[in-house]
Symmetry: C2
Subunit: 251 residues, 2 copies
DNA sequence: GTCTATATACTGATAGAC
DNA sequence: GTCTATCAGTATATAGAC
């Protein structure tokens, strides 16, 4: 029946719209007051509904947090993947690495949500529970959304392989580009995560310099440091190793 | 007065003993059921006191968590610092790195507490508060206990400087050993943290191989891989690059 | 189907009696 | 110092109005 179908469509549209509204409000609260401040009550109040209504659209607070985390991953990947098109592998790796850290610093709360450990096994009651309203059947067994994680690792691995293919790298194609890509990812995550814990990690050093040191150590202290690698002619003295092409981060 | 002094001493001893008992119970709960399961009520019950009594010895649940975190740092440093005595710098770095990851994998909950972000500004009520009972004046402004963090960074930095001093390293003493030490620390932390989030990071690869790839990239795919670096004569084919001198980790 | 209102079973933390 | 009683907050479950 035509009118019935139309009604279904409209209802579905309303559902996704409301879901989006909930996520919007949640994102606002989290980026403003931190993840800890995200309570179902405040969230419900922010969108003008009762707390119980949220559970018609999300299985739990944790699912909302996970949705925001996946959003963060998508956002980060959206910033990184265009850089994957940079031809020169060394330049590409530098761009990817610094963009990664810049994102983590610029979107602290979103970043935390991406890598936050899920609240384990249902805390409160949850004895009976006939919860089938929300179709989210994701068993949520492992965190780090698989697809996004793979794309992230591949971005780095591809660049490393491209570098190895140039022959202009002592490392050669020894088949460990997948491993080194993971190490690179881990290093970048560590830099962002540790720097967010206070000044104890980076002290006065800038995160940019730490990342540069790591990259130089891996790729060889090389050219491709200043975007246009071809313009390597005797320019005025390089700005004393302080040329940051990425906005520096707090701490 | 003599008896008064003696009484004070005894009271003080009781205080520290009780503090230790609280921490012991907290450690047991956390390592068994995770940090989320650590509630003041359960903790109080575990030591046979009322919840309110805990607040006579610790300012808050957060302070207990922080104390456990510092404990974890001390434990990790106690395992790492003896390795700082290894003469060969490359071997020393390998030993430090793998011991770090092994610790993180073996003591997951303790490790999380070490790098946990503090629960920001008092969540609940906390309106009045005349809290002076506990002498802990630590303003808790920055996490990552400064002293421990510095010792950790120095362990790595010293080894890198020792390596640079041998001249047997393309990197030379360019003054960035402090920076590379931070990058190394970040990489190790990233490996532990990401691996704890599920199989999405390391996939089927072992963490040991990832760390080896990173170290080889920084230090040069070199000797010192098998404890005795002098025994580099043509040994039977190296065990297909799977020789793990550190017990492998979950995921 | 969707939402409100209410109930349960927790949480960290505090005031005040003893 | 230690307790009881309580506050104000939390996530979540369920009953029932519309």
């Amino acid at each position: 029946m035509n009118s019935a179908e139309a009604k279904d469509l409209r209802a579905a549209a309303l559902r996704v719209a409301l879901r989006a509204r909930i996520l919007d409000a949640a994102r606002r609260i989290v980026t403003r007051d931190g993840f800890e401040a995200l309570s179902m009550r405040k969230l419900a109040e922010a969108i003008g509904y009762s707390p119980a209504s949220l559970y018609l659209h999300f299985e739990s607070r944790d699912e909302i947090a996970r949705a925001l985390g996946r959003e963060g991953f998508a956002q980060l990947l959206a910033q990184l993947e265009p850089l994957g098109a940079i031809d020169d592998p060394r330049e590409r790796l530098h761009a990817l690495a610094h963009a990664y850290v810049a994102f983590g610093c610029a979107h602290q709360q979103a970043y935390r949500l991406m890598y936050r450990e899920p609240e384990e096994g249902g805390r409160a009651g949850a004895h009976g529970a006939t919860r089938a309203t929300v179709a989210t059947v994701t068993p949520a067994e492992h965190e780090l959304p698989c697809e996004e994680a793979a794309r992230m690792a591949d971005l780095f691995a591809d660049a490393l392989e491209a570098l190895a293919a140039t022959g202009n790298w002592r490392h050669g194609a020894r088949g460990d580009s997948a491993l080194l890509a993971r190490a690179l990812w881990a290093m970048l995550h560590g830099v962002v995560a540790l720097s967010q814990l206070g000044p104890g990690f980076a002290h006065e050093a800038s995160l940019t310099l730490i990342v540069d040191a790591a990259l130089d150590g891996w790729l060889g202290a090389s050219a491709a440091k200043n975007g246009d690698a071809a313009a390597q002619h005797n320019a005025p003295p390089p700005p004393a190793r302080t040329a940051k092409k990425t906005p520096d981060c707090p701490s």
